[in-house]
Every structure is written in structure tokens, then in C-alpha cells.
């Protein structure tokens, strides 16, 4: 695999550049991760977890790792034109571009910073956090992310603090015309009894090949309420791999909402682990694909402790020659009695050439649990279509209305009104672009 030499060379250069400023534990962490990645390589479809999404092609693409690229006027325009421009943190190709905090946010006591800025100032804490979740990784892309660890968002919401306004993070890729790779690393800590909303936006220009390999770790403390959003709309040649790990302490509640609205090849792993009793999580995802896009959603929920509740609703809309994957796994440990786990995956296929692979998996080792799963694959309801047309609505608009309607419950579930409107608009725009082909 010639590509591996390329990544190794880039890694050596990366370490050389970081050596003068980083602690030895951080340097060692990167080296161990690189060794792990080199051993594993890019996963192929022969591996069960990657059955529907072969990543070996990444080994052949010479993506450049950059340490600070100039932001082109085009990208600057993209940033200012976007409603998410008021983001607290904006990263360009993985590195902090700007940070704007309102007085209210600063006054709340919440820490919202670039990870690179806190390696030294919060050394012990960061070291402990990175090590605790990284071991859970065992995922070649997490290893690769750690090998190139440099920047990302660090958020800590202190004990008992309730943040009303969402914290927006923008990750812009493909800032230059070069094919670049970035490895954003995010760490969010919700302390006991706190609550807040964090939105990760991923975007990039069309026509530009790039690879975003992002990693987010969320520590949901006792009794906290965490709202986590991902709004992904990479450019039409962008490759996006995202791995989110959520560790839930006792009595914590996590709502996860993901919207996959672009990118040539997208793989997302969302892992939740219950580490205390009476935790609950709700995971919702919408993937809306067109052209030859490929989106692979993997969720895994580990019920390690009793009395926890998890529910999932993932919905996919596939047009043209696109391909979607939903693989949802729930593992209930022997001690995790009174687990309540429910999983639903629904798919709408808009073209005979589109494809969905849906695979629910339940592994249950406890005997007193309530677990269910279901998945459906369907097409536009012809009776509903005729009904709308019989009221004068043109066929194309009627199809768009029904497609949008399919996604509506996931959009309506967004609690913050401005965010809901923003996402509704993005979904609407994307649905309007889809051409319905019945033949």
C-alpha cells in the first residue's frame, strides 16, 4: 500500500513540527496511535464493520496534511455567507481560524476554546480525557486522528450551569485547491447537573477533493442534559469520516441529532456507553443522498449498567445512484437489567438505482430487558401523490412535499427555534435539488 508511506512521511513531518511545543505524553500518544494505524491500515469491505463501505481507496489518494493554510477569498465568502457564521469557533482545515465569544457566554463560566490552546493550560485534565476515550476507539480512523492530533474544540460546561444558546462550531474543509486532509479533535465535558447544546457544522466547497477525519468525545456527567447536533454538508467531492463517542454517567440525558446533507463518501460512527444507572439517550439521524453519494451510519450503544434507556430513529432518503447504510448495534451487558432499548430505521428510495443496506444488531446478555428494532424501506406513497395532484399541485412539487414530509419529524425535533429553521431550510434546499426518477 503505497499510500501508507505517504501518511507515515506526513506524520514524521507533523511530529517534527510539534516537538518543540508539546509535552512528551502527547508526542507519545501520537506515535502509539500512528503505529496502531499503520498496523490496521485503511479498512476494506472484507472487515465486518466496513462491509458496505470500502475505505482502501483512501490509501491511494495523496491528501496533504496542512499546518495552517491560507484561506482563499472563495472560502472566506463561503464563511461569511453562511448563517452559521456566528459560530463561537471556526476551524479551517482542522485549525482554529477564529474564536468569538459573547459576554454572556464568557460570564457563564463555560470554557469554549481551541484544544491546541489548552494542552498546556489544562495539561492533566486533557491528558486524562484523551487517554480515557482513546482506548475505546480501536478504530483505524480514530487512531489516524490521534496520530495527527493538533486542534479542535474544547468545551467544558461547569457544574449546574445551563446554557440556553447553542454553541456553534464550524469546520470548514477544502480551503485551498490542494487535496487536503484534516483531523479535528473535539472534547466536550458536561459537568454534573449542567445542560447545553453543541452544534458541529461540517462544510466545504464543491468541486474540491478533501478528506475530513473528525473525532468527538462527549463526557456526559451525572444528571446533565446534553444536546448534540451534527450538520454535515461537505462538498460534492468531499470525504467525511466522523467518530463520536459519548460516555454517559448516572442520570444523564443525551439527545443526538445528525443531519447528513452532502459529501461524496461519508462514514459516521456514533457510540454511546452507559457507565451509570438511569441514563437515557435519544439518537436521531437523517441522511439525504443524491447523485452517487454514499453515507454509512454506524451506531453502537453499550448498555453496561442497569435501568438505562436508549432509543434511535434514523431515516434515509436516497435518490439517483446514491447508497445509504444503517448499521445499528445495541449491546446489553449481563448486569444491565431493566434496559429499555428501541431502534427504528426508515428509508425512502426515490430511484430504482438507489440502494440502502439496513442492519440492526442486538446482543443481549441480560434477561430482564425490553429491546426492539425495526426497519422499513419504501417509496413515495402513490395514493398521497395522486391526492396532492388532484388538488392542483404539480407532480414535481407534490413529490418534493412528500419527500420533505418524510424527514419532517426529525427536523421538528430540533428544539432551538433558530436552529430548527436553519436546518429546515437546508433540508428543503436539498430536497428541491433532488430529481425524482421513476424509471
Amino acid at each position: 500500500m503505497t499510500g501508507m508511506q505517504h501518511y507515515q512521511d506526513q506524520h514524521t513531518a507533523h511530529l517534527r513540527q510539534r516537538a518543540s511545543r508539546d509535552d512528551s505524553w502527547l508526542m507519545a500518544l501520537r506515535q502509539e496511535a500512528m503505529d496502531e494505524f499503520l498496523k490496521a491500515g485503511f479498512p476494506s469491505s472484507r472487515q465486518e464493520n466496513w462491509k458496505y463501505t470500502d475505505m482502501t481507496r483512501l490509501g491511494g489518494d495523496p491528501f496533504q496534511y496542512t499546518q495552517g493554510s491560507a484561506v482563499s477569498p472563495f472560502v472566506e465568502k463561503l464563511l461569511t455567507a453562511d448563517p452559521a457564521v456566528n459560530a463561537q469557533l471556526v476551524f479551517v482545515d482542522g485549525l482554529l481560524h477564529r474564536r468569538i465569544l459573547s459576554d454572556a457566554l464568557v460570564g457563564s463560566g463555560a470554557v469554549i476554546d481551541s484544544l491546541d490552546a489548552v494542552y498546556l493550560s489544562r495539561r492533566d485534565e486533557i491528558q486524562q480525557l484523551l487517554k480515557s476515550t482513546d482506548a475505546a476507539g480501536k478504530h483505524p480512523f480514530v487512531a489516524l486522528n490521534t496520530a495527527f492530533l493538533s486542534d479542535g474544540a474544547y468545551i467544558r460546561i461547569p457544574r449546574g450551569v445551563h446554557l440556553e444558546q447553542p454553541i456553534h462550531l464550524v469546520f470548514l474543509s477544502g480551503a485551498t485547491s490542494e487535496p487536503t486532509v484534516s483531523h479535528p479533535r473535539n472534547v466536550f465535558v458536561f459537568e454534573e447537573g449542567s445542560s447545553g447544546t453543541v452544534v458541529e457544522h461540517y462544510l466545504g466547497p464543491d468541486g474540491c477533493a478533501y478528506f475530513t477525519n473528525t473525532r468527538t468525545e462527549i463526557h456526559a456527567g451525572p444528571g446533565c442534559l446534553t444536546n448534540h447536533y451534527i450538520v454535515e454538508r461537505q462538498g460534492d467531492r468531499g470525504i467525511h469520516v466522523g467518530t463520536v463517542d459519548i460516555l454517559q454517567d448516572r442520570d444523564s440525558t443525551v439527545h443526538s441529532h445528525t443531519f447528513w446533507l452532502g459529501g461524496a463518501l461519508v462514514r459516521n460512527d456514533l457510540n454511546v456507553r452507559f457507565q451509570g444507572e438511569h441514563g437515557s439517550c435519544r439518537l436521531e439521524g437523517l441522511y439525504l443522498l443524491a447523485d452517487k453519494e454514499h453515507v454509512d451510519n454506524h451506531t453502537r450503544i453499550d448498555h453496561d449498567t442497569p435501568h438505562c434507556t436508549s432509543s434511535q430513529l434514523y431515516k434515509g432518503i436516497m435518490a439517483d445512484r446514491s447508497r445509504g447504510v444503517f448499521n445499528g448495534k445495541v449491546v446489553v451487558a449481563q448486569d444491565a437489567q431493566k434496559t429499555d432499548a428501541e431502534q427504528t430505521n426508515r428509508n425512502l428510495i426515490l430511484s430504482p438505482n438507489a440502494r440502502i443496506d439496513t442492519k440492526p444488531e442486538l446482543e443481549i446478555y441480560a434477561d430482564d430487558v425490553l429491546c426492539s428494532h425495526g426497519s422499513t424501506v419504501g417509496q413515495i406513497d402513490m395514493d398521497a401523490l395522486f391526492f396532492l395532484r388532484s388538488r392542483g399541485i404539480p407532480e414535481a412539487l407534490a413529490r418534493h412535499m412528500l419527500t420533505e414530509a418524510f424527514a419532517s419529524d426529525l427536523v421538528d425535533a430540533v428544539k432551538n427555534p433558530e436552529l430548527r429553521e436553519y436546518i429546515a431550510e437546508l433540508v428543503q434546499q436539498r430536497v428541491a435539488r433532488i430529481e425524482h426518477r421513476t424509471e
Partner: protein, 248 residues
Amino acid sequence: MLDISNLHVQIDGTEILRGLNLSIQAGEVHAIMGPNGSGKSTLAKVLAGDESYEITEGSVTYNGKDLLELAPEERACEGLFLAFQYPVEIPGVNNTYFLKAALNAARTYRGEAELDAYEFLSLVKEKMELLEMDKSFKSRPVNVGFSGGEKKRNEILQLTVLNPKMAVLDETDSGLDIDALRTVAKGVNSLRDADHAFLVITHYQRLLDYIVPDFVHVIVDGQIVRTGDKSLALEVDDKGYTTTPPAS
């Protein structure tokens, strides 16, 4: 306004309409009665443009146009309306949003300006009050969780808001209690004038006490076998279809 001539219609190889003739002028209300399977609902769906039916012979002319050549949405925009026997539930599509899309589609088709939000909402409010509908209908998804009666009322709301020239009501009375029946009839009658025509399909004479027809037709085996005035409905209700003598 509407001329149906020698209409033959099949579905899955079975002939349902076998040479049906019917002519409706502006301002008239026609009722069609007939036993189950006689082709009443088939006629309604064929007029609205349901593509699951195959037309093997005959013609339908609507305001000088070949109706059968028009797409369902074009028929609607030309002023033809079908109140469905079984209105479809559409989760995720808000009732008001749907009504607005429908009304503005027809206005655009006719080269008229779209209604602004205020004009549209005033119109809907007026019609909902006429039909004694709860305000919550506005924000609910189309027909989802509606009772049978609520669905029928919603059909008549669409009828009154869209204000079509030619309305076909397919068993709008089925499943309605007497109060709902009166309200629905009030909605229909509010549109009756010299420009509007109605084709009312029903099993029962009862509806025709409230929407009084100018003509009553009896359909048996895909053909109209008798035509009369409103007294024919009473006769059918009294004696049934089986005793109806074939047309001479």
C-alpha cells in the same frame, strides 16, 4: 360543462364502466345512485385522473377540452375537484401549507397572482367557521388522526377554499352523523350558483335532502339505467335498485 360519452373503463382487465353517458351543464346538481360495484367511484376517480384505470373507449369533454388528455393537476387547475370517499392521510404535510400550495398552484396556472399570507389565512378562517371546524385543523398534518367525519369535513374545506367549477363528491355522506351531514351540505350549498356544477355520488337519499339535486341518475353495471328528478332518489331509497327497470 361536462360531457361523458360512451365511456368504457377497465381495471386489471375487468370492465367497470360499460358505455356511460352523462351531460352536466353549469349551475346543475346531478346525483348518481347505485349499488356497490356499479362503477360510481370508478367514474369519480377516472374524472380526477387516477392512472390505475384504463379507458378503452369513449370520451370526456370538460369546458371544450379533452379531459382525458389532462394530468390530474391540470384538471384541478381547470376547476375540477374530487372529494374523495377515503381521503388519504399525509403525515408531515401541514394542512394549511397543503391548502396554500394547492390554491396558489391553481392561481398560477390561471395567470393570477398568488394570495399573500394575510389574504389566504382570512379565506381559510372564513371557510373553517362556515364548516364549524376547530382551529387546530390548520396546524395538523393532512388527515392524520382525523376521524372519518373530520376527514370529510376537511375535503369540503378544500372544496370551499379552492372553489372549483365542477365538483364531484364521492360518498361524502358515508360515515357522517346528521349534524356533520348538515354542515357538509352547508359548505357545498354555499358554492351553488349558475357557474358551479356538482356531481354527487351517494348510496343514500338522505344526503339529497340537504343537497337537493336537479337530476338523479341510477347506475347499474357501469351504465346509467334511469334518469329522473329528485323523486327518483326517494323511489330508489324506498324500493331499492333491484326493482329499477332497465332503461328503454
